[in-house]
Amino acid sequence: MPANGQLSGSKVIRAKGLSKIYREGATELRALQEVDLEVRTGELTLLMGPSGSGKTTLLSILGCILRASDGKLEVLGEDVSALPERELPRIRREAIGFVFQGFNLFPTLTAAENVALALDVRGLRGARAKQRAEELLDEVGLTQKAHSFPADLSGGQKQRVAIARALAGDPPILLADEPTAALDSTSGRTVIELLQRLARADGRAVVMVTHDPRVLSFGDRIIHLEDGRIVREEAGVTKAMEASSFLKVLPAEPAMSHEFSI
């Protein structure tokens, strides 16, 4: 089922020459430097790199939460760089779902109410919102926990509620910031499998910042950043396997791992 009408393989994010410079007094920090990137539906893209490499800054810019200092960003074909600040919430509501490392659930609301709140932000209220929230919780396997408060949920369950909430606007793009970092291996696996399913089966573009080596095998693309630059991109294990079987037929194809070109 393509998310929000996007066909699998569609380029939903196009970034060209993205740079981000933080200035504090005379000090200048170049968090991102001329990053070119295209994100496609149907893929789980992993952003990896050491601390301070610019992963989260890139994710924030791709999510229209942060403005790039330079470069061009298109989301669903719309030139976001040219839009005024007040238009960015609309882009976020219509195109993007966010999953956070710390879940960021509302502790005073139940799981269903947390999801319903994201629907409320998008103008869907009442019985329809309630029904949709239950459907979304069902999609992440938490029907039975709909009326539980976050404090009564495990870490993995909280993250699944957060994912259900991120799906409220049926966004073609999901951006996740280290969603498995705070989880044990079992919960982490459940969450990454869910994100992978949302990419491959639902046809969404999932971009995930991670340090977690356990999730490497789930990524379709792995992008490595250092010092604010993309230094390498490689296909994930699955893609590599697909590619290697393809190479048996076409032995002249270049290797899958390459630097800088996306």
Partner: protein
Amino acid sequence: MGLLARRNLFHDRVRFAVTLTGIVFALVLIIIQFGLFLGFTTTTSNNIDHSNADLWVVFHGVGYFDTGRNFSERKFYQVLSTPGVEHAEKYMQAFARWKRHDGRVENVQVIGFHPGSGLGEPWNVVQGSVADLTQEDSVIVDELYRDKLGVEKIGDRIEIGEHRARVVGFTRGIRSFTTSPFVYAKFKNSLDYTNPTSQEDDTAYVLVKAAAGVKPEELQARLRGRLTDVDVYTAAEFSRKTRFYWMFTTGAGLAVLTAALMGLIVGVAVVAQTIYAATMDHIREYGTLKAMGATNGYLYRVLIEQAVWSALLGYGLAMIVAHFIVRASEKGGAVILMPWSMSAGLFFLAIVMCIAAALVSINKVTRIDPAMVFRG
């Protein structure tokens, strides 16, 4: 949105109780101060407002009720002979010494009028009657001052200005703004009580009733043209001048209004502090909402709804507390008035106060950087 507002507000019950306490405290303080102001204001002019007179003729330069100065009875006859006057009566107001049965002396304000004239009579007579004042040396006092004046019942005897007098009735709720209670007597007796050497042709005021179809202002102009050395006011004008004198010239009104303003400021500060603290507790959630695409307007509505809920509940509780205070004041020397218009005004004041208090938080959430959600 509404659910989030209510849950965030009621989630921390201790903090919410503090918020409500602050609002209730502020509103009750405002009610008491404004109620006292209204009570004082009404008290200062109650004899004028209940006089049933259209016009008051006063000694030239007398600016308010409690300082009446005597002038010649001839003015009274000049008034009576003026076209458009249906009825006029002499009226006395002067201070006197009231000697209790036990020998203690109190200051009183003696009000002299003509019983049965319908002008300048006491009201709310709960024991005895105005007609009883036609008896010699009889007075009516208010039951609020029984203890102060040392009288308990009809028939009790006292001395006023070294003249013997007897209580023939009691009123209810006629307070004096000064510390001297009003003592009602027939005009002739009031002269005896207040100035034994005076002649009967003196009066402190002349109360005038305009004939049917004659506008008080029209008659006022006519009397001003005929009378010298006196001022002629409509009852509303004289009432206003008296209220203004006591409330603003003396500073008494400013004192209570300042206290009311302080109540308002304290209320805004307490509510602002608690709503701000609650906002800061949930700041990451507001950041998350922004990241999810919520507009600033959406966040404002959450905060304003919290403020309105605080105002509604605080107002309800304040009204209950105020009701008991107002009831208790009815038996005291200073009445606290709370007319429906004040209750309605306070309702809107509570809403405005709480929304104003929420502005600090609104300013805060406006500045939230949604990128905060990605910081650990």
